[in-house]
Symmetry: C2
Subunit: 222 residues, 2 copies
Amino acid sequence: MSLFPKTTRNRLQRHPDRGHYDRATITPIIDEAQICYVGFETEGQPFVIPTLHARDGDALLLHGTPASRLMQHIGHGQPVSIAMALLDGLVLARSIFSHSINYRSVVLFGRGRLLETPAEKLRALRIISEHLMPGRWDETRPPSHRELAATAVARLEIESATAKIRSGPPVDQQSDVALPVWTGIVPMQQQMLAPIPAPDLAPNIPLSPAVRQWLDTDTNDE
Amino acid sequence: MSLFPKTTRNRLQRHPDRGHYDRATITPIIDEAQICYVGFETEGQPFVIPTLHARDGDALLLHGTPASRLMQHIGHGQPVSIAMALLDGLVLARSIFSHSINYRSVVLFGRGRLLETPAEKLRALRIISEHLMPGRWDETRPPSHRELAATAVARLEIESATAKIRSGPPVDQQSDVALPVWTGIVPMQQQMLAPIPAPDLAPNIPLSPAVRQWLDTDTNDE
């Protein structure tokens, strides 16, 4: 089993049974999450910034404006922590204390650097784009030299990571099982709705293949 | 207009037109978000921890195990940053550079303290429970003294906050408008699915009113 190193930094203190340190558990959560939350501190002040991401092997790719606090911080090689969580459902027990949520989360640690050459920036931006919108890159006008220069792209090697997962039904204490309280789970999921054309879309332009993928996910279930 | 103070800490550097500092914009985002991401640093190492929350006026309430790194940090009065984001849709432009997402996010800053008395802990836990599961508290067995003692509850005064919002259709450069590329948005939303009874639920126990609220949200639209 391919493991990220387990240290005091990423070892779970609470519910150690929910902790996972293997790539086979961690990487699908990173790949399914649509956004991540990057935490760092500058001059004694912590910041958490939500942003888009994509995984490239054992690295995480981020982009932003070159002037941003986050990109400046990463550019200086400072440490960051990045979290992402997928919510799978509410867990409704018979006692309020045993209520929970089903989730899959990852917290990872690393340091990054800003990519320098247009070629490596272009490659990374394409991976970020493909993560959220597979196939879309090839349907659209690619970045100009000016646009590429206006975008900072960071690559963080993941030094350490933990996944934390809760799944399954509620677990009540034995002494609560006879209580006349409805118990179970309420699943939740992120749902993509039918695409809405821009007001200035010319009427003769059909939905493109990359956009039709979101039509297929939910609408075709009806 | 009721504003949170605007300082170098929370002023937006990028897309200042997307920044909002008034309570009327910020508090509904905090209230709609199901989880938050708490960032802090100890001994030179940043951490970001996903956790449940609720708002109580200008304060944020969090809970956890007393031994957790997060609760220890807050208990020592150290600064934290907390972010949350709601994803509203993909924004598909004609150039890849003009792609974006529609979202409503908040980043806030403050310091907290751990609540001491059982009465104030009980009140805060009820607010956290009502945030995610309105009405559920009164349907279930309340916390015992032992359970209450095993739960740390933190209250953070929000000293400073920024909301960042993008909405609406894509905005392409004028020179791209004639490109034959489908453009528009793909809305997304968090969806609650039909409740699933626990395997050990007695067959004579009906869905409770608090659980039926999730039946109503989506299923009745059909």
